[in-house]
């Protein structure tokens, strides 16, 4: 079975380029935190910087906000240089991981802060504050101090405080990581619909791949300070460029195969490939493997494998099977307890060659 997905180039086109990161590097002493990062953001896009802790994603965000200076490289926004401006002169607003609400100001004054310090006409401030609080459903808390609010409520206020300034670009630094699971799901939905409504470009940082998949137009996956892959969630899942990407986003089977005369061989598995002769790593998603009887594709690769372990998780079964010593993870719709040997199959098109 093959998946179709909308093509999404590295350089976005629809709304034009809003932000361009050109060859950015950042060192903290001897530590190289970012290595030659280049990235473009389209106007109105929701792009997620995804990576493990220490991958440099927060540093990149802080460089764009202006809290850190790049060691080399340039950042441009709307055709002018951004990285030479101090943070308070950048038309960029940030939602901080721990909200960073001003404890001595009430909710309304927190939201009004950006408007007041930039000398917005004082006549329009109350209406704009009200509209921003309405947008995040917090208008009845306008007189409350932040310390009286729950984490989720503080998060909403932080969002309103950033959005009220109508930034061209909103930076979100793991904004949902401090919330519990249910609230997090709910806030994800609200964030996404807010972003669509307002058309503001979001640059979102998270270490949670599910969150990245659910929210983003494109995901930029960072590893040890370099960009591993930039693509839409569907593409990055279906066509991971590297074994790291394939393993970090979703589960996968990594198959070390020998390719000769257009046939890849990994243990007892043989399948046709387009690539030339060499040893190549392939990623095969657990859900790409099915029972042979159910395989629709005429050129499906069939093999027998023994069931080693079965984990039932509601709608699906997670299987661990072995085929001539090769361990494979298989995900199939729930179908009761399985034992012994079965015939499985996969479509060769689903075995994606990946870089080591």
């Amino acid at each position: 079975m093959t998946t179709t997905f909308p093509s999404s180039p590295i350089s976005p086109s629809p709304g034009g380029v809003l932000l361009e990161v050109r060859d950015i590097a950042k060192r903290f002493g001897p530590r190289e935190v970012l290595k030659n990062i280049s990235l473009q953001l389209a106007s109105g896009e929701f792009l997620t910087l995804l990576g493990e802790s220490g991958s440099g994603k927060t540093t990149l965000l802080r460089l764009i906000a202006g809290f850190e200076q790049p060691t080399s490289g340039e950042i441009w926004m709307s055709g002018s240089r951004l990285d030479t401006l101090p943070p308070h002169k950048r038309r960029v607003n940030t939602v901080f991981q721990h909200y960073a609400l001003f404890p001595h100001l009430c909710v309304a004054d927190n939201v009004a802060y950006g408007l007041r310090v930039t000398n917005s006409p004082s006549a329009e401030i109350p209406a704009r504050v009200d509209a921003a609080l309405h947008m995040v459903k917090m208008q009845e808390y306008s007189a409350a101090r932040p310390s009286r609010l729950s984490g989720g409520q503080q998060q909403r206020v932080a969002l309103a405080r950033a959005l009220v300034n109508r930034p061209q670009l909103l930076l979100l630094d793991e904004p949902l990581s401090a919330l519990d699971a249910n609230l997090r799901k709910q806030m994800q939905g609200e964030l996404k619909s807010l972003q669509r409504e307002l058309g503001i470009t979001f640059l979102f940082v998270t270490h949670d791949q599910d969150e990245a998949m659910a929210l983003s137009d494109r995901i930029a996956l960072l590893k040890d300070g370099h960009l591993e892959q930039v693509a839409s969630p569907r593409e990055i899942y279906a066509r991971p460029a590297t074994s790291y990407t394939a393993q970090f986003i979703g589960q996968t089977n990594l198959l070390q195969a020998e390719v000769r005369n257009g046939i890849a061989t990994c243990g007892n598995l043989h399948w046709p490939v387009n690539s030339t002769n060499s040893t190549t790593l392939f990623s095969l998603r657990p859900e790409s493997i099915q029972f042979a009887a159910e395989a629709a594709s005429p050129n499906a690769v069939r093999f027998r494998a023994r069931i080693q372990q079965q984990i039932f998780s509601g709608s699906v079964e997670q299987l661990e099977v072995t085929c001539a010593g090769q361990l494979l993870r298989v995900r199939i719709p729930a179908r009761g307890v399985l034992t012994g040997e079965h015939e499985f199959a996969f479509d060769p098109a689903d075995a994606i060659p990946v870089a080591g």
Partner: protein, 281 residues
């Protein structure tokens, strides 16, 4: 759970301490203020004469006002010196932070008297300051008003009490989460606006605590005026001291002490209310 015996044992020493060395002396002082001296002997006869004397003789009010004025000056100067220092150290000192902190603290280990005498040597007629001014030919004669003046008292006490103002201020500034500063810049506030809208309001509890230290300590100070102040800078505690000493009028001295105590308690009460009002999270 702790046993009754254990609780009794651990709470006895502090209770004894407070009772013997705090409550009892205060009670004695309070009682004395309502007694009087007749023919060089303290007579245990309850009356309000001492308080009446304080009200009718303008000298006491005058000295009290001078004391408050000096205390206010010392407080203001200590804040003016201590705040920039604490601000610089907390936000911009970087790796020099710890060293500077030690340098601020070290003078506290030096005896008050030594620091007082140091100013005496600096400000006196044959002092360092006069010597320097004459060497530069700015003055021909030694300037006598440096020493034995309210100015000398304020200078000395400011030097002595600035670390007390610095410490709570520095602690308050250190407790301001740095992401609040970043949030302020991020929202478009210049460094100046960030200082006045975020840093200053959040440091007010520390500022109040420091100001209270300087004011209350100066209010009860008698060594400063003794060492570097002249007759023109006699403070209220000097009067109490002489009443308990050579003048031998303990009841009147006690009455003044009671007044200062009440003033101090009122002040502490007020600043604590204010600090609470400005304390967040």
């Amino acid at each position: 759970m702790y046993s009754r015996a254990y609780k009794a044992i651990v709470s006895t020493p502090p209770l004894l301490w407070v009772g013997l060395f705090l409550l009892l002396p205060y009670a004695l002082m309070f009682a004395h203020s309502f007694w009087l001296v007749r023919d060089g002997v303290i007579v245990h006869q309850w009356n309000l004469q001492n308080y009446a004397k304080l009200l009718h003789n303008p000298v006491y009010a005058e000295v009290l006002f001078r004391t408050v004025r000096i205390a206010a000056s010392v407080t203001l100067l200590s804040l003016l010196l201590g705040y920039p220092l604490a601000y610089y150290m907390s936000f911009h000192a970087g790796i020099r932070k710890d060293l500077l902190y030690q340098l601020v603290i070290v003078p506290l280990w030096v005896s008050y008297l030594v620091r007082g005498y140091a100013w005496k040597t600096i400000l006196g007629s044959d002092g360092v300051l006069n010597g320097f001014l004459q060497y530069l030919h700015i003055t021909q004669q030694p300037v006598s008003f440096f020493l034995y003046s309210p100015f000398a008292v304020i200078l000395t006490l400011t030097h002595i009490y600035t670390p007390f103002v610095f410490l709570p201020l520095y602690a308050a500034l250190e407790h301001i989460p740095r992401n609040l500063i970043e949030a302020s810049h991020d929202l478009g506030a210049s460094p100046r606006a960030t200082f006045f809208r975020v840093i200053l309001p959040l440091s007010i509890p520390g500022l109040l605590a420091g100001a209270t230290f300087a004011f209350v300590l100066t209010l009860g100070d008698f060594l400063g005026p003794m060492l570097v102040g002249g007759p023109s800078s006699i403070m209220i505690a000097n009067i109490v001291q002489s009443l308990f000493g050579t003048a031998y009028d303990w009841p009147l001295g006690a009455a003044i002490a009671v007044c200062i105590l009440l003033l101090t308690i009122a002040l502490l009460f007020l600043t604590e209310r204010l600090e609470k009002r400005w304390a967040f999270r």
